[in-house]
C-alpha cells in the first residue's frame, strides 16, 4: 500500500517533470528556414543591394511586354496566324488593327502589369530603405536612383495609359486615384529633376545597367519629346537642353559598326546610355529570336532551342531601307541556310524562303480556316543570338542609346523650324549607316523615316508614329480611319473592377 502510494507520488513527480520538459519544447514560433524574414534580412550592404535588385529585374519586362506592344501595333511588326499557332484568341488581330479592348486578353495587359509591378516593387524597397537602421555610404544615391527608376515606370505608364495614378507610399493602402496627364507629367519631371544630381555621373562598368545621370537626362528628354502628345503643351526646347547636356558630357558616341550595339557581347558599346542586361542563364526573358525565327532557323545560329516562328515585319517597313544601308542587315529575306551552308526547309519539307509579302488576305484568321504559310514574311533579327543560345539571349537590350539623343535633338530643332541646325545631327546617324548619304536639307517626314530606320524593333515605333501623327495612317492590313483614342491602351477591366474609382480611358 505505502509502496504503491510512494510510487504514485514518484510517478506524479516524473510525469510533471517530463511533461514540463516536453511541453517547454512544444513551442509555437513560426520557424522559417528557406526564406529570409524581415528580422534577419537585410543586415549589410551586400544584402541590401539584393533587395534593391528587384527594381532592376522588373525593368526586364520592357524588352518583352513594352517592346511587343510598341512593335506589333505598327507597320514595323505583325504576328500572323500560322496553322494552329499564334491565333491566341484574336489577340494579335486586336493589336494589329487597333481594336484592343479592356477585357482580359483584349489588350496588352502585360504593359500595365509591367508598370504597376515596377512601381510597387520600388515603393516597397523605398519603404524598407527608409526604415532600416543600416547606414552605408551612398544610401542617398540609391534612394535617388530608385526614385528615378520608378519615374521610368511612371513614364511608360503615362505613355501607354495617359490617365494614371501616382502612388509612392508603400504603407498607404488606400485605393489609388487618377491624376491628369499634366499632373503625371509634372510629377515625373520633378521626381527626375529632384534626384538627378545625386545619381552616378560618369558611366562605368559598375553602373552599367543602372539609372545614371545620363540615363535620367534621356528619360527627361523622352518625356519632353512626347510632352505635347501627353499634355498638349510642347517641350521642344527642354528636350534640346537635355540632349545637349548629354552631348556636351562627351561620355557617349556612335559606335562604328551599327550592329555592334546589339551583338551578344554588347556590354561595352560606347553608344549605350541605358541598357537592360540579359543573360542566357541568370537574367532571362529576352527572346526576340525565338519569337521571330522559323522553327528550323536554329540551325543557322546554332541554337539549342527551337524557335516559334511568330513575329515578322511588313514590306511597308522593309521598303524604307536603301540597299547598302548597314541597318538593312537586320532583315532575313529569301532562302535560309544552316550554319554549314545547307538550305533549310520548312517542317513539311519545302524550301525555307522568307517572302516579302503574305498571300493571305486575312493574316490573323481564326484557327482551322486557312492561315499563313510557315515561310511567309520578313524576319527581323537585330539582336543576333550567339552560338548555343537557348530560349533566352545573352544580348543586353538597349533602352536608350546615343543615336536617339542625336535624332531627338534634330527632331526638336526641326519642330522649332531650326532645320539647318538639325542637319549635322541627323547626318551623323545617317553617315554611319550608309556612307555618303547625308541630307542637304531635312523635313519632318525625312526625320520620321530616319528614326524608323534607325530604331526598327527597338520598342519605340508606336510612340514615334503617334508623335508624327502616323498611328492612324494606312499600312498593309491596317485599316484606315482608326481613331486617336486608340493611341493609348484601355486600363484593363480587371484593374477597374478592383478599384472602381478609376475612370476608363475615353473610347473604351
Amino acid at each position: 500500500m505505502t509502496i504503491y502510494y510512494q510510487f504514485k507520488k514518484y510517478m506524479a513527480c516524473i510525469m510533471i517533470i517530463t511533461s514540463g520538459l516536453v511541453l517547454s519544447s512544444c513551442d509555437m514560433e513560426t520557424k522559417v528556414y528557406d526564406e529570409l524574414t524581415t528580422d534577419n534580412f537585410p543586415q549589410n550592404e551586400e544584402q541590401l543591394l539584393r533587395t534593391i535588385a528587384p527594381a532592376y529585374s522588373a525593368m526586364r519586362g520592357y524588352a518583352d511586354a513594352v517592346w511587343a506592344s510598341q512593335t506589333v501595333t505598327t507597320d514595323e511588326g505583325i504576328v500572323v496566324t500560322r496553322g494552329s499557332d499564334w491565333n491566341n484568341g484574336g489577340y494579335y488581330r486586336r493589336l494589329g488593327t487597333h481594336t484592343y479592348n479592356p477585357s482580359p486578353s483584349g489588350s496588352p495587359e502585360n504593359v500595365w502589369n509591367f508598370c504597376v509591378n515596377g512601381i510597387a516593387q520600388v515603393n516597397q524597397i523605398l519603404y524598407q530603405l527608409s526604415n532600416i537602421s543600416l547606414e552605408f555610404e551612398g544610401k542617398d544615391k540609391k534612394i535617388a536612383e530608385l526614385k528615378t527608376v520608378r519615374a521610368f515606370f511612371y513614364w511608360v505608364m503615362l505613355d501607354n495609359y495617359r490617365h494614371i495614378y501616382i502612388k509612392t507610399d508603400f504603407l498607404d493602402t488606400s485605393a489609388p486615384q487618377q491624376v491628369s496627364p499634366q499632373e503625371a507629367f509634372d510629377f515625373i519631371e520633378s521626381e527626375i529633376k529632384d534626384n538627378i544630381d545625386l545619381l552616378e555621373d560618369e558611366p562605368s562598368a559598375n553602373n552599367y545597367g543602372l539609372m545614371t545621370q545620363s540615363a535620367a537626362h534621356v528619360l527627361l528628354a523622352k518625356l519632353y519629346l512626347n510632352g505635347e502628345v501627353y499634355t498638349g503643351k510642347s517641350y521642344w526646347q527642354e528636350c534640346i537642353n537635355e540632349c545637349e547636356t548629354i552631348i556636351n558630357k562627351n561620355d557617349y558616341a556612335l559606335s562604328e559598326n551599327f550592329m555592334d550595339n546589339f551583338k551578344e557581347d554588347n556590354t561595352s558599346s560606347v553608344e549605350t546610355i541605358l541598357a537592360i542586361p540579359f543573360d542566357r542563364v541568370y537574367a532571362t526573358g529576352f527572346s526576340h529570336h525565338v519569337y521571330t525565327l522559323h522553327y528550323n532557323s536554329g540551325e543557322t545560329y546554332g541554337l539549342s532551342y527551337a524557335p516559334w516562328n511568330g513575329y515578322s515585319t511588313l514590306r511597308d517597313h522593309y521598303d524604307l531601307f536603301a540597299d547598302g544601308d548597314q541597318r538593312k542587315q537586320i532583315f532575313l529575306v529569301g532562302q535560309q541556310y544552316a550554319a554549314d551552308g545547307t538550305a533549310l526547309t520548312t517542317r513539311d519539307g519545302k524550301p525555307l524562303v522568307f517572302t516579302l509579302d503574305y498571300t493571305s488576305t486575312d493574316p490573323w484568321n481564326e484557327l482551322g480556316t486557312g492561315g499563313v504559310a510557315e515561310n511567309e514574311g520578313v524576319r527581323v533579327l537585330k539582336y543576333v543570338p550567339g552560338t548555343g543560345t537557348g530560349r533566352h539571349m545573352g544580348n543586353d537590350f538597349v533602352v536608350f542609346r546615343y543615336a536617339d539623343i542625336l535624332l531627338m535633338k534634330a527632331e526638336c530643332l526641326v519642330r522649332l523650324n531650326r532645320n539647318n541646325e538639325a542637319l549635322p545631327f541627323i547626318n551623323q546617324v545617317r553617315e554611319r549607316a550608309l556612307a555618303g548619304s547625308s541630307y542637304n536639307s531635312i523635313s519632318l517626314e525625312e526625320l520620321y523615316k530616319e528614326r524608323r530606320r534607325e530604331f526598327t524593333w527597338e520598342g519605340m515605333a508606336k510612340q514615334d508614329m503617334i508623335r508624327f501623327g502616323k498611328y492612324e495612317g494606312t499600312w498593309t492590313y491596317h485599316p484606315t480611319g482608326s481613331d486617336e483614342s486608340k493611341r493609348i491602351f484601355p486600363i484593363p477591366s480587371t484593374v477597374i473592377s478592383l478599384n472602381p474609382s478609376l475612370t476608363q480611358n475615353a473610347g473604351y
Binding site: 511541453l23 524574414t37 539584393r50 541568370y282 537574367a283 481564326e366 484557327l367 473592377s497
Partner: protein, 1094 residues
Amino acid sequence: MTYNLTKKTKNNFKRLIVVCYLLLFIFPLRAMSQFEMLNEQVTVHQRNGTAAQLIRELDRQSAYSFTYSEEQLSKEKLATIDYQSTKLGVVLESLSKKYGFDFLVKGKIISVALKSPSQDSRSGDSQKQEKAGLNGEVTDAQGQPLAGASVRIKELGISTGTDAEGHYNFSLTPGTYTVSVSYVAYANQDKQVKLTAGTTAKLNFRLVEELSALNEVVVMGYSIQKRKDVSGSVTTVRSEDFNRGTYTDVNQLIQGKVPGLVISKPGGDPNQATTVRLRGVNSLTGTNTPLYVIDGVVGADINTVPPNEIESFDILKDAATASIYGARAANGVIIITTKKGSKDRTNVSYSVTGSTEAMSNYIKLASAADIKAYEESVGNTDYTGYGGDTDWFKAITRKAWSQDHTLSLYGGGDKTTYRGSITYLDKQGIILNSGLERWIGRVNLQQKALDDRLNLGLNLTANQDLNDYVGQHNSYSEILKNVVNSDPSQPIYNADGSYNRFYGIDNSNVVSLLNDLTSKNRANNLRGTLSANLKVYRDLTLSAVGTYESKNANYGYYAPSYSVYGLQNVGEAIAYRSYTQNRNKQLDLFGNYNHDFHGQHHMDVTAGYSYNYYENEGFEASGQGFVSDSFLYDNLALSENADKKTIASNRSSYALSRLFSRVNYNYASKYYLTLGFTRDGSTRFGENNRYGNFPSVSAAWRISREAFFQSSWVDDLKLKGSYGISGTLPSDDHNLEYLSTYSSNSNYAYINGKFLPVYSPARNANPDLKWETQKALNIGLEFSLFKSRLSGSVEVYNNKIENLLYTYTVPVPPNVYSSTYANVGSMRNRGIDLQLSGDIVRNKNFQYHLDVVASLTKNKVLAITNDEYTISTGYIETAQVYGDGNLGYTQRIVPGHAIGSWYTYAFAGLNEDGKYLFYNKEGEKVTTDQVSDEDKKFIGRPATPPYQLGLNHSFRYKNWGLSLFFNGQFGNSILNATLQNVSYLSRLPSRPVPKDFINAGITQTDPYISSLWLESGSFLRLQNAALSYKFNTERFHNFIKQLQISAMADNLFLITGYKGIDPEVKQEVDALGVDNRDYYPKSRSFMLNLQLTF
C-alpha cells in the same frame, strides 16, 4: 419505505468503517458465517408479537444497530419466541432458519429483511386468497440500474417497464410464473418465481451485455464510447466487413461502406491514391481529404498500415465529434485502429493473396485499316501510313500479377500482450513497367504494471514503398496522352527489332517510352509511439502518448539520350534526383474521468493537450548529357552540359497545439448531452488569428428507454442532434502566407557590374489569415428492430463553410503583387446519409445479411467575394481543358450554383453540312464561328455525384461464405475530355479518332468544347465479390486454429452509359469530373486467398 437508523450508529459511522476494514484485514482468510462474530448475549421473550417488536428488543439489548422496514416487519406475526442468555448470532441464525429472516451484518449494522416468499417455510394456513406482489430491480453487470427494461410475465402475457431506478412492480394472483426481462443490447433473462398470496416477492435481475452493434466500442479520439451512447455521427467499419483484395490504398477497404464517404479510385494505377470526400467538397484550395488518425497519430501516412492488421475504421462525420481535432477536422476524421495482441497462447497467422488483373475497358479508336479506308474515301489516294497496325492500348497493357503476404504473430499473458507482423505486397500495374512493391513491419507491445493500474504501450512501424511510375518526370500523366493520340499505323518496332522511336506532340511510341524511361521512388517510413496510461484513482486515468514519425522519399528519373525526351532535348540524356524527408513529432497528454453519480448520472470527461510539429525538407539536383546511359541518375556529377546542372533544396516546418475537452453526460442511458471545446493553434497564422476555438454540442434521446415507450419489436430508438465548428488549415503550399519574407526565385539583376540574385518580398503577406470554418448541424435517428434483425440510421446534415481560402486578385500598388491568399467565400453542403442493415435470413445453417448504404449530398456556393476582396468577373473559372482548339475553362464557381457546375456551349446537333451547332443566348442554333463566350451557360448536372449507393450482400451456408458488394454513384455529369480530344477529324491520318466517329456524318474538323462532351457519370459496379470456405479445424486437434480459402474478384462488371474508359474519374477541385487523356485504365482482377492461423 422508511428505515430507522439509531443515533449512536450515526455518530460512530466513521469509526465503524475503520473497524470494518480492520476486521477485514484481521480475518481475511477465514471463511466464516456472519453470525459467528455476534457473541453478545441477549434474552428475549415474546408471545404473538410482530417481527418489528422483536427486532426493536434486540436493537435495545445489543451494541448493534438494526435497520429494517417498520412497515414490513410490523405485519409479520411471530409465534412464541424464547431465548435465555443466548448469543446474538445464535438467535439471529435460528430466526433466519425458522421465519425466513434475511440478516446482513455489516460492521455494527445489521439489516433485516424478509426472505423471498418462495423460500418461505411458513405453514399454509397463513395463505390468503389475495393478490401477491412481485417487485425487483433490473441492473447491469456493474449493478447500475437499467431504466426502461421490459419485464414480462410469460404465462400471463403481461409486461411492464422498469422505472428510472430500474424497479418494476406487479400485483398478481398467486402461482408460479416465469419472469422474462429483456433490454436492448443485453441478453434476455428468465427466472421462475412462486408467488404466495398476501406476500411480496422480490426478484432482481442482473443483465449481461450482449455483443451487439449497440455495445460495439466506437473510437472517438482520446476516448471510446459505446455505439448506443454516441450522440454525434460516427460510422464504424470492422475488419470482417472490409472489401477483400490486394489493395494499395487502405481506403479501398471501406469503399462504399460508409454513407456520405465517397471513395473513388480513378484508374488502376497502383501508385495513385484514392480520392476521399466526406459529405462533399469543403474547400477550394485547402485539403478535401479527411484527417487520418492511426493509433492516435494525427496525420500519419496511411500507406504504413497493412490492411490485414486493421481492426477498425471509425469515421467521425459531424463537426461535433470531429472538432476534438480542431482546425483540421472539417473534412471529417478517419480513425484507424490496428490489431493488438490478446491474452492467449501464441498465435501465428498467415494470409496470402495472389491476384491477376487485366484492363477492364478501353476506348476503341480507328485502326490503321479504318484510317486508310477513310483517307481513300476522301480521295487521299497517296496515303500509305507507316505500315503498322498497332492498338496502343493493348500494346502498353499487360496481364498483371500481384501477391500479398501477411504473417503475424500475436498472443500474451495477463501482463503482457504482443502482436507483430510482416507484410509484403508486390503489385504490378497493368501498364508496362509500372508497379508498387511494399514491405511493412510492425510491432505492438502492451504491458501492464502496478496492479494493472499502469498500461504501457509500444507501437513500431517501418515500411518501404518502391514505386515504379509510368513515365515522364514531374508529369506522370503526360505519357498516357500518347496512348489515344498516337498513329495506329506506326509499328512498335522497326524491321530490325529496334524501337520505332517516332515522336510528335502527344504522338510518340508509348511502348518505347515506357521502356526507355526510368521513374522510380523509394519511400521509407518509420513511426514509433510510446504510450502510458495510469489509473490514478478509481475513475481517473491519465495518459501520455509520444510519437515520432519520419518519412523519406528518394526519387530518380532518367531519360536516356535515345529516348524521345532525350532526342527532343538536343540529344542529351536527362537525369534528376530528389530526396525529401517529412518528420512529425506528436505529444498527447490527456485524462479521462468516468463516474456514475447516484447510479443514474453518468459522466465521462476527456481533456488534454496535443502538440504536433511537422518538418519537411528536400533536396534535388539534375544534370544533362552523359557519356553513358548506364549511370541512370546515380552519378549526376558526370553530366556534361554545365549550363543544365541544377541544384535546389528546401525546408519548412509548422506546429500545431491543441487543448481539447469533451464532457459526456447521460442520465439513465436515456438522455445524453455532450459538450466539447477545443482550442487549436497553428503557426500558419499570424498573432491575430493564431488560435481559434472550436466548440460543439450534441444531444441524444433514447426514446426506446422511456417507460412509456413499450414496443415488442423496437429494440432501440435514438434521436440525436449535434452542432459544432471545425476547421481546415491552408495546405502545405501556403505555409507562410501570413508572414513577410524575402525570397529569391533564381532571378538576377545586373548591379555594380555583376549579376546579383534578386531578393524580393515572397508574397503579399496576409496577417489576418485564418482557417476555414465549418459550422455543421447533424440530426439523426438510429433504430434497431426485431431483435436487431433490422437496424440502421438516417442522418441529415447542413454544413456551412465560411472563410474559404482562395487566391484573390488585388490592386498593385499598394500591394506588391497582384494576388493575395485570403479567407473570403462561403459555401454549404447539405445531405442525407442512410444506413440499413438487415438479417434477412437467420437460420442455423444459412444466413443472408444485407447492408445498404446511401447518401445524398448537395453543394451550393454562397459567396466568393466580400467587402475587401472581389473577383472582377463575379465567378471563378475552373476545370480547364487542354488541347488544340477552343477549349479553356468548362466550369464556373458562382454563388447560387454547386461547385463543379458545368459552364459551356449547349450542343444543338449537326447542321446539314455535318458541322456542330450550338444554341446561342437567343436560343438559335448557330455554328462554331457564330458563337461567343456570352452564349455559354450552365448546363448538365454538377460534376460531383450527389447520390451514392453501396449494397453489400453477404451469404453464409454452413462453412461457405459469399459476399457481393455493389457500389454506385449517380446523378452527375462528367466531361469526356478524352473523347473530345481525340475527335479531331483534321488530325487524320496522323492521329486516330474514335472508330464510330469516322462515318458519323461529322465534317467539323475541330471538336469544339460543348455539352456534346458532357455525359452522365452514373454507374453501378459489382465492386467486390468474395467466396470463401472455412474448414472445420477440430480434426486438426487444435494444431490449426483457423483455415479459410477464398476466391475474390474486383470490378466484375460495370453498368454505365458512359462512353469513356470508366466513369469513376478524378474529382480534384480544380477539375472536378474531367476525364482527361491521362486516365490510367481501370482493371478487373481475380484473386485467391488463403488464411491460416496456428
